[in-house]
Amino acid sequence: MKPDETKPGNRVLPWLALAGGLLFLFPALYSIFMSFQTVDAYYTGTLDFTLENYRLAIGQFHFARYLFNSLIVSGTVTVMGLAFATMAAFAFARFRFAGGNLLFAAVVATLMIPSHISLIPNYLSLARVGLLDTYAGLILPAISNGFAAFFLRQYIRGIPVALDEAAYMDGATPLQVLWRVIVPIARPAIFSMGLFIFISEWNSYIWPLVAVGDEDLYTLQVGLARLYKVNPGEDVVNWPLVMAASTITILPILLGFIFVERHLVRGITMGAVK
């Protein structure tokens, strides 16, 4: 047992920590609470709960559609981004080829390049080929992920080359080595990069704002910002409705957070049993 847990005074600490955490998260927690209040209850300070705000957000204000769009865009970006990054990482980690170092330097350099520089040119080039206001327009500029390629290349370099060589002896092709040897071993790294890509794409705002004018293609972020800024038919903002929309926007990541925590704990305990 750790010395901390033997001191009787420290029984209180978890509760203090929990209270501190709740206080910090208060704005977010209260926004979720508010999303279940009726509009009247919100303005009069009484307790009266309803699902009406969610019904309105999903139905009349199209948040089911935005949720679907966000899932399509973030899902595709994650899968394609991981595939491209893993393939390139494998090549950079395992093959010596002319120009390889230069290409790898070009990948690493993208970590320094701020994304705003490509905003106007990407908008113009996608407009030229008619891809504004399409899923492809939202997805394509987000796929290449230099950080994931860099991170996975470092990880793959840590895997013993003898494993690859044994597979090549058995007549495997490079793609089979990648798929059957490298990917299973690098799964934890690929998984965390996948989370990283999914979360950043889910929360991405400026590119979807620029690339899409058609409301049917709004992602949650753009839809939420619009709902807040142009609150139709209201003199003042309908806060409970906005908070219901905001809760829909953050919910998948919150649920994912819980899922990932469990996933991590399971991985740790499985490792301990073996």
Partner: protein, 289 residues
């Protein structure tokens, strides 16, 4: 065993996407910054440095530079100072510290738009939580987002709330690398807590601080979402950051030339900072898995 083409085929998808959506756009931005175009007219005449001249002589541009620099200079030390203090308490692997770390980290993976919307409500003049609290204390309502003196501070608070958890996690990693013997030695010498913090903790996490400093300054210069949702750069330009100005010039005024010139100037500034980072910190910071 396999073709010499194999590695090229493996890197081809990634490299072509990087070329099309990252490198070519840099060249395109530089090219467009020397031209005059409104996105509609059939020609885009070459105008030399005219866009840069107009930009550098406009009050709007210098206001944005001032506001963004002010934001970076105020918010970064607040973030890092708070994060280091909190991290030095949460560095131990106990249940409460892990719970708190989780709570503090959550906002950094949460939607910035949601956070901005929720804080717009917190700081709303009429029905906001902050003003409700002030009124209950017998004080008056404060027009947080309508007062040019206050709006920037609200943006700083919101940004700090969102980013603090990330800074803390990085600091904890830095602190865990500090040998425990140094703290034991300080304790034996009878160092008081504040003293140990200043004389042992702060100097030893200096590499982490340098890293976070540069990363968060670079990030601060790219702030957009919080401002776009909460203030639109107002009131009276008091929160008009560089990327918000870029968005306005490029995508609402459709002044492609001047928008590109602004993008190029910001790009040069950020690359200079990034190069400074890799020069100064390259040896000390690495990401080996």
């Amino acid at each position: 065993m396999f073709s010499r083409l194999t590695p090229y085929l493996l890197v081809l998808p990634l490299m072509s996407f990087i070329a099309v959506f990252t490198y070519i756009p840099i060249a395109a931005s530089i090219n467009l910054s020397f031209r005059e175009w409104d996105f509609l007219s059939p020609t885009m005449p070459f105008v030399g440095l005219e866009n840069y001249r107009l930009l550098l002589s406009s009050h709007e541009f210098w206001n944005s530079v001032r506001v963004t620099a002010l934001f970076a200079v105020i918010s970064v030390p607040i973030r890092l100072g708070l994060a280091l203090m909190v991290a030095s308490y949460l560095v131990r692997e106990t249940l409460p510290s892990r719970l708190l770390r989780g709570a503090l980290f959550l906002p950094s993976v949460t939607s910035t738009v949601s956070i901005a919307v929720v804080f717009s409500w917190m700081f709303a003049t009429d029905y906001g939580m902050v003003n409700a609290f002030l009124v209950s204390l017998g004080l008056g309502r404060v027009p947080w987002l309508q007062d040019p003196q206050l709006a920037l501070w609200v943006v700083i608070v919101v940004n700090t709330w969102k980013q603090l958890g990330y800074d803390i996690v990085i600091y904890i990693a830095g602190l865990q690398a500090v040998p425990q013997e140094l703290y034991d030695a300080a304790a034996v010498d009878g160092g008081r807590k504040g003293h140990v913090f200043r004389r042992v903790t702060v100097p030893l996490v200096m590499p982490t601080t340098y890293f976070l400093l540069v990363v968060s300054v670079i990030e601060a210069f790219q702030i957009f979402t919080i401002v776009d949702v909460m203030t639109k750069g107002g009131p009276a330009g008091a929160t008009d950051m560089l990327v918000n100005m870029l968005y306005r010039v490029g995508f609402t005024l459709f002044d492609i030339g001047q928008g590109s010139a602004l993008a190029v100037l910001l790009f040069i500034l950020l690359i200079a900072l990034a190069l400074f980072k890799s020069r100064v910190l390259g040896r000390r910071v690495h990401y080996e898995a």
